[in-house]
Structures are given as C-alpha cells and as structure tokens.
C-alpha cells in the first residue's frame, strides 16, 4: 500500500481529477465544508468513513467529505490540485512523503495545535510524531505507525519441524534454509524460506530495518551515515544468505514479496498489517513475529501514514481540520481505528487490553517499541531511497559492497544538502 509505483493511470487520472476538481469552501461564519483525501480502501476505509460520519453528526457546522484514492494517485495529483487551489483541505499520505510537501509550504503548521491540551496529541507515539516534523515544526498528525514485522506461514513451519520462531539473524537464516525446498533439484527452489526483496521493499523499510539491526543507519542528524563497516557487514551477510544459501528469490520487490507469500511460495515475509488479510484471503495460516534481532539491536523501520491540513485553507477551515484531528485522536476513536484498521494504537496511553480483541493489533502493539521512523524530516526522501535501492539491488547482485556504499554515501549526502 505504501508503494508508489503500483497503481497508475497517473497521467489520465491526474488530468481527470484536476478537471473535476474538488474544493472546500464556506463563509467565515457559515458551515464549513472540508474535503479529505485518503487511500484506505479496505476494511480500514470503512472504519475511517464511520469515524468521519460520527464527526459530521456531532459537528453541526462542519461537514467533511472524504475522497478515496490510491496512495499513489494521491501523490500524483496532490501537487497539481493544491497549486490550482482545488486540493483537499485534509490529506493522508505515506509519512515519508510529507516533508517534501511541508517544506514547499503546502501544509499548515500545527505547532499551536499540538500545544493545545484538548488536541489529544500529548500521548502520541513519539516516532510517529517525528515523521510529521520538518525543521522543528509539526505539519501533520499521524494516522498510522506500525513497525515492519515478519509474517510467517505456520503450516510450512510445522512441516519443516520448526517450533520456535527465530530470535536472531543466524537462527533466522537457519530456519529459512530449512524451509527452502528444491524438490526436483534443478537449482531453483520451489519453496523459499523467506522473501527478501532487494528494491522497493515494503514501505522502503526492509533494508533500513536490517541496517539498524547491526548498529548501522542511513541518515543521522541530517548527515548521510550509510557508508559504515556495520552496513557493509549487513549487506554481505544478507547477500550471502539470499544468493549463496538461496533462502530467497533475487530481484523481487515489495509487491512481489506480498504475492510470493500469498501464493504460499515463501514461508516468511516482512510486511505490514495488510499481510494478515492477504494471508486470510489465500487461506494461509499465519502468525506474526518481530523482525529477529541483529548482532547489535532489534529494530524495525516503521510504516507511517500522516495527515496534514492544506496551507490554502481559511482560518475557519483550518480550525475545523484541527477539530477533526483531535476527534480522530480521542480515546474512543483511537481504539476503534486501531481495531478496525489492524494498526496498533497511535496513543501510548491506550491500555493493551483495549485492543486485545484483534489478535493482529495485539501482537503488533507488543512490538511497537521496536518501530523507528523512516528518514524523519528528510525533504528529498526520493533521492535517498533511490540511492538505498540501488545500493541493495547491486550489492545482492554481487557488486563491490565497499564501492557501492561509498557511492551511496555521496548520493545521499547530495540529496540532503
């Protein structure tokens, strides 16, 4: 879902959307109408619609009209729509896309809103809030924040006689080797122990998670830190596991990984909460576990969705948008949203038993503290993520890791400046 390439029709859709347009409006003291773009299309969409309806029912002077698009088309159409003054008043988007819009002045600053005690923002998960911050100012509220986790096929685990889910990288690779099956001995396994994409990974977070596990990183304090001996070790470790031990097919991207897991051809995948529904749809018995610990740390890059309010909005519209944000983040709705969407609660003060009725949420909530925001505050995340993709793809294909890291370091530093 957070992948951007997938769904297209970009050009045509963009044009159509600009033509049909949509705008909020209303007089200063009359009723305020807001448009809200989001990309929640599954069960999560229904829950969000229900929350919006409740909001509309309880606020006589505000009406929010939602428009559902794919995440990719939100990204493709937002620029033209906003710059033509026809954009949404509230928009939800993949969190790593927010800084570029915010830094160009597309979104209203919410610093005052956060200071307001009634805004329900005091107990938000800190990592989620990091993702809406650009140059020290907050431009949005989180709508979702969940660490990547391993989704695994429990029947395949049983068949292979693995009883306990691996706790560290070595055990992880060992289990994956046991789960890799090449029945006809042609050198290409029919069943892979894991699927480790080497580019465009889920929410771009797989390799960052692995880098963190060995004490490495990508960007720290606005500086590129990718060229480190830790990252070189990480890349070599996983290249060897993927290529030499054949625990995963090569050249797969995040969508391909979802498909392989969904078709039962891979026993483990790293993904987001939607993997639960993919598994259920395909009749796969699954369980969720945290990404096993690396030599230095146990960590997982998080998938974030942020909501922001357009800077074009009038004061009344902005106030109404903030009213909605605090409504969305109140205790009752936080629980409802979490249970309905399958994402852990955004507030750290929601007791675990409140969300225990949804087993996916319960297990994801347990590992919430492993989640790290992806490239918080980095405006040019496009070039940084492209450089990481190029690095991992080439490294897995057998490129010279030191040279590749050096090159990636230069590109990422350029992108940050």
């Amino acid at each position: 879902m957070t992948r951007t390439r997938t769904l297209l029709g970009a050009g045509a859709a963009a044009l159509a959307l600009i033509m049909t347009g949509c705008s909020g409006g209303g007089d200063a003291d009359g009723p305020v109408e807001l448009t809200f773009w989001h990309g929640y299309t599954e069960a999560d969409g229904d829950v969000l619609e229900a929350i919006v309806e409740d909001f509309n029912a309880s606020h006589e002077d505000i009406t929010i009209a939602t428009e559902v698009k794919t995440w990719a088309s939100i990204d493709d159409t937002l620029l033209t729509a906003l710059s033509a003054g026809e954009g949404p008043d509230i928009v939800a988007m993949p969190a790593e896309r927010l800084p570029v819009y915010a830094s160009r002045g597309a979104f209203a600053s919410l610093d005052d809103f956060y200071e307001d005690e009634d805004s329900n923002t005091a107990h938000l998960v800190p990592g989620a809030v990091d993702m809406v911050e650009v140059e020290g100012e907050k431009y949005g509220v989180p709508a979702g924040f969940v660490p990547l986790a391993v989704y695994y096929n429990t029947s395949l685990f049983e068949d292979a006689g693995i009883e306990e889910f691996p706790q560290d990288w070595d055990q992880w690779v060992e289990a994956a080797e046991q789960l890799t099956v090449d029945e006809n001995g042609d050198g290409t396994p029919e069943q892979y122990g894991a699927v480790i994409p080497d580019h465009e990974t889920v929410a771009n977070g797989l390799w960052p998670s692995l880098f963190y596990g060995n004490g490495g990183g990508i960007v720290e304090d606005g500086q590129a830190v990718i060229d480190s001996p830790q990252n070189a070790e990480t890349l070599e470790f996983w290249r060897s596991a993927i290529v030499d031990d054949q625990i995963s097919p090569t050249g797969v991207d995040g969508i391909g990984a979802d498909e392989l897991f969904g078709s039962g051809k891979a026993a483990m995948t790293v993904g987001g909460p939607w993997m639960a529904s993919i598994a259920t749809e395909n009749g796969i018995d699954y369980a969720i576990a945290p990404i096993p610990a690396g030599p230095e740390a146990q960590a997982a890059s998080a998938i974030g969705i942020s909501m922001a309010a357009s800077a074009e909005a009038t004061d009344a519209e902005q106030e109404a948008a903030e009213e909605f944000f605090s409504f969305f983040l109140n205790e009752e709705n936080s629980v409802e949203w979490s249970l309905g969407s399958g994402w852990p609660p955004l507030r750290s003060d929601i007791p675990a038993e409140d969300v225990a009725s949804n087993p996916v949420v319960a297990s994801l909530t347990e590992m919430a503290e492993l989640g790290r925001p992806l490239l918080p505050g980095v405006v040019n995340s496009v070039d940084v993520l492209t450089a990481v993709d190029e690095l991992t793809q080439r490294a897995v294909a057998g490129g010279d890791i030191d040279a590749l890291l050096d090159e990636a370091q230069g590109k990422i530093q350029d992108a940050l400046e």
């Binding site: 990204d75 620029l79 033209t80 050249g251 492209t386 793809q393």
Partner: protein, 316 residues
Amino acid sequence: MTAQHPPARRYRPPAPLGGRRGSRRGLGRRNLRAFAFLAPALVVLGLFVVWPMISALRLSFTDASGFGREEWVGLENYVTVFTDPDILNAVLNTVQYTLLFTPTAVLAALGLALLLNNPHLPFRSFFRTALFVPFVISFAVAAFAWSYLIDPQVGLLNYWLGGLGIRMGNVLQDPTLAMPAVAFVAVWKLFGFYFVIFLAGLQDIPASLYEAARVDGAGPWSRLRHVTLPLLSNTMAFVLIFAMIAALQAFDQIYVMTGGGPYGNTQTMVMEIYESGFRKLEVGFASALSYVLLIATLLLSIVQFLFFGRKEKDLS
C-alpha cells in the same frame, strides 16, 4: 514495326511534408474564412498547448515548487540539466531506448506492410486488423499484461519457455535486459500504427511503375530498392519522425513495468521529468528539463525533414 505503348501517366509524387506552394491570389479572404473554421481548434490549442508551454518556459527560470512564491533563478536549472550525472544517465538511456525502438518498430512495420500488400496473401484483412489491434490497447494495460506474461514466478511466457528448457529469468530486474524488454513492449504496441501508414503509402504507388520495372528486367529486390523505397520516402520520413518522437517520450510502460529500475537503467528523460516535478516537487527544474527535451526533439525532427526533403528533390 514497333508496338506503340500508351504513354504512362506521368507520376507525380505526393506533396512533400511541408506542402506545395499554392497560388497567391484571393489569399486574404480565404485566410479569414480558414481562420474562422480553425478558431475552435486554435482556441483549444492555445489554451492547452501554447499557454502551458509559455508558462513552463517561465517556470523553467524559477525555483517553482507548485506552492507559494517562486523566485527567479536565471539559468541555474539549465546548468543543472547539463551537469547532473543523473540527467546524463537519463539522456543516455533515452538514446539507447530510441536506438532500440525506432529501427525495430519501423522495420517490423515496413516488412509486414510489404508482406501484406501482396494481394494474393490469404486472410489478408484478418492479419491487417490483427496487427493493428495492439495500437488500440491502452499503453498501461499493455504494459501490465506484458509484465505478468514475463513475470519469473507466475508468467505464462516463462512457463512455456521453461517447458522448452529456456530460462528467461527475471527480465525486468536484469540490468541488461530491462531496457530491451520495455522497448519491445513499445514496439509491440506501436508498430501497428506505422504498419497502417506504410500500407497506405504502398498502395499509393502506381502499379504501372512496377510493370515498367518488370519490363526492364528488375527482380523483386531491385523493384523494392528502386521503385518501392524511393516512392515511400515521404511515408518513411513521417513514420521515422513519429517513431523517434514516441521513443524520446518513452514513459508509460517504463513507469508501469520497471519504474526506471533496475538501478536507474530504464530511467528515461520523461521519467526524470515526472520524478523531478511530481515526486520531488521541483517544478522549475522539471520545466527546464522538458524544454531541453523539446528542443532536442525539434532539432532531430528538423534534421530528418531536411534529409528526406533532399531525397525528395533528387527524385523529382
């Protein structure tokens, strides 16, 4: 005694692409009427083509992002276009794509047009229609269909070829095969259009010329070289220019199939424009890049016009 051949109708080649010069009389009134007829089209063109072009030209000298106030930055964007290694990579990829696509598409279209121009071929109209069908399909749909066909895990094509012992591997993730693959999809999708144009051009060539050539003892190869190809040069110019422009603007299937990857190997100029404008919100820079592409396309088209224009002159 010599048999008197009736004089062959003097062959007049079709008008060159620029048109023939007409009479100058009564031009004013006719122009006015012409403009009245053209007005609706001109208004649309002006609003949706000329105005955006002027506005993009202005933006290309600014640091516009689409929001807020833009600042004039002079030639900075253009300097970046010519110095950024990523752009150079995109230019080289576009050139490679053009070299793969244009000759393949044009030759395939020409070859099949020659074949299907033969009146004795069975199922001629079926083949003509069949070859045109891909052109009617949306590019995005074709691209999705092909990515599934050649998918290494679930692809039908891979499955069939696997049965024959041929392994294609993960074509779209292979740095050497990805570009030929996306170029192939464009050939498959577009050659039907060039094919129809060639077919029309072939049917414009009078049969008497072939008869004359045959009488002079020309074999099939000579007839192709000395009759068909020279008389097809206008059509050829049109098709080549269209194919080249299509190649320089490659985007749709690349966006769908590879997203510019693996590691930037299929990142073309238009992909770069899209990424700069819509992903990085560097609208000013994207405009400058568009203008560089526009001017390059224009120059290449002019070179081709001149080349074929001269051939035309040689012929008459």
